[in-house]
């Protein structure tokens, strides 16, 4: 499997798009840190970009890559090679390439300009978000039969996680304002990887004072080692679950 991953990675990192993506992220992060005198603010602006751009690029690029590799996947499946090896070498190859792009584009400048715990949380959270969206893109690719549909599903998932979900949660919270919703909102945020990553970083930035009682509940939970640990486990589950279901479907799929 290692050998196959090597060639998948080799093919992707020569792709101009991935190079451009890395440079764009690098430019964004460096300029945020340069122009904001307060690294706290720089980090916050960066967080907002990361939570929109990175999921979008990861999910679209992975879906397109899967379908562009379709004939290659066919070729591999005619070799003495199991479906598992084929699926996971593609997945891990993509994770490695996009993960490297993120680490070079965002991780490196963040750790240089702001080498603190909050910087590290941002990098780790962003990395897990990248992997989650790659995993979701693979699931979207194996349940559909053509590229256009797969991209449609991938975009819908992105739209749901990044935009729709927050709107829905907000609606629930407003309508239920008479009840104590602090615990509930904690659960809501755990059900969306984007929110989870966002809150993890926000808690490190000491802005929870602006968020009222909910902020206090969050602060209590996410600042404890236990809370941070649970959040990262949840984020990991967001990677593992779609990959696993994607594999189950791929292993029975007609190529």
């Amino acid at each position: 499997m290692k050998k196959t991953i090597k060639y998948v990675v080799y093919d992707i990192i020569r792709n101009r798009f991935v190079i451009g993506y890395t440079l764009l992220l690098l430019l964004l992060s460096v300029s945020f840190f340069w122009f904001e005198a307060d690294p706290n603010k720089g980090l916050l602006s960066l967080l907002n970009i990361i939570l929109m751009v990175i999921p979008l690029v990861s999910v679209i690029f992975s879906t397109i890559h899967f379908y562009n590799s379709y004939e290659f996947i066919e070729l591999l499946s005619a070799q003495p090679m199991s479906r598992r090896t084929i699926y996971f070498s593609q997945f891990l190859g993509l994770c490695f390439s996009l993960g490297m792009a993120f680490l070079i584009g965002v991780g490196l400048p963040t750790l240089i300009f702001d080498g603190s715990m909050r910087g590290l949380t941002l990098v780790l959270g962003g990395l897990l978000i990248t992997l989650t969206l790659v995993a979701i893109a693979f699931l979207a690719s194996v349940i559909t039969k053509d590229k256009a549909k797969a991209i449609g599903v991938a975009l819908a998932v992105w739209f749901y996680l990044c935009i729709l979900y927050d709107g829905m949660v907000l609606m629930v919270l407003v309508n239920m304002a008479d009840y104590p919703m602090e615990k509930a909102s904690l659960v809501f945020s755990a059900l969306n990887p984007m929110d989870l990553a966002r809150i993890l970083v926000l808690m490190q930035l000491d802005v929870s004072a602006l968020m009222g009682i909910t902020g206090a509940v969050f602060q209590n939970f996410f600042s404890s080692t236990w809370g941070v640990f649970i959040s990262f486990v949840l984020l990991l589950l967001w990677v593992i679950t779609p990959v696993f279901f994607g594999y189950r479907i791929f292993s029975k799929k007609d190529l």
Partner: protein, 244 residues
């Protein structure tokens, strides 16, 4: 060694692409799979390769059911109809990768680079696959199919995109492998090629296996020398049956 299809059924949605196909293929045979477009030829080949999973029935390769297996494919060389490869990899890297994959999968593996020599692919080793023409990709596919001296060769439209010289070179290579007693399975729409290369004919129509016979027997039966004529007669017969 032989390949045995037992009551294979496969449907995509409502269309039944393979209907109760049973077929025994043996070493030393060179089998031409014929039939109109959409008759299930490629699906049959893909089910042998494990790329399409039949709804029912089983395929035995050397006596073993191929379901959920993959090691058996080290005995198969496959040349697809359209070869698309990772565009940024170079030919040399692709070939190295295939060698990497096959290494250790079979004892005493033999590397046969004759096709690479014949098609002078070494000169283009450093070119990325994305920049190659359709014909050159076809040559790369052929090189990969023959590279590991497999016992079974599956060739899907092998000569379709090749220039006349390359086509002749490939055919002579196929004949050479046939003389070694390998099992060769070919689909093509070029009757003259099949006439030259095959000993047996499988004729499929609408997902059903209509005929599996030796080419010589068919010639006697229909009183025709040329395969093209025989197939035309076959198609006409079936067609008139449908009308009647």
């Amino acid at each position: 060694m032989m390949i045995k299809f037992e009551n294979i059924n496969k449907s995509f949605g409502k269309s039944e692409v393979l209907q109760n196909i049973s077929l025994n293929l043996e070493m030393g045979q060179s089998v031409a799979i014929l039939g109109p477009n959409g008759s299930g030829k490629t699906t049959l080949i893909k089910s042998l390769l494990g790329m399409v999973i039949p709804d029912s029935g089983q395929i035995l390769f050397d006596g073993k059911n191929i379901k959920n297996e993959f090691a058996y494919r080290s005995e198969i060389g496959y040349m697809p109809q359209i070869g698309n490869y990772p565009p940024n990899l170079k030919i040399a890297q692709l070939i190295d990768m295939m060698k990497d994959i096959r290494k250790g999968k079979k004892e005493g593996i033999i590397i046969d680079e004759e096709i690479i020599e014949l098609f002078k692919l070494k000169k283009m080793y450093q070119k990325p696959l994305g920049t190659l023409s359709g014909g050159t990709k076809q040559k790369v596919s052929a090189a990969l199919a023959f590279l590991f001296d497999p016992k079974v060769l599956i060739l899907d439209e092998p000569t379709a995109g090749l220039d006349p010289l390359a086509s002749e070179l490939l055919k002579s290579k196929i004949l050479e492998e046939k003389r070694k007693g390998k099992l060769i399975i070919i689909t093509s729409h070029i009757m003259a090629d099949l006439e030259e290369l095959s000993t047996h004919v499988v004729y499929m129509q609408e997902g059903k296996l209509k005929i599996f016979k030796e080419l010589e027997d068919l010639r006697l039966e229909y009183g025709e020398e040329r395969l093209g004529k025989i197939i035309a007669l076959l198609m006409k017969n079936n067609f008139s049956k449908i009308i009647a």
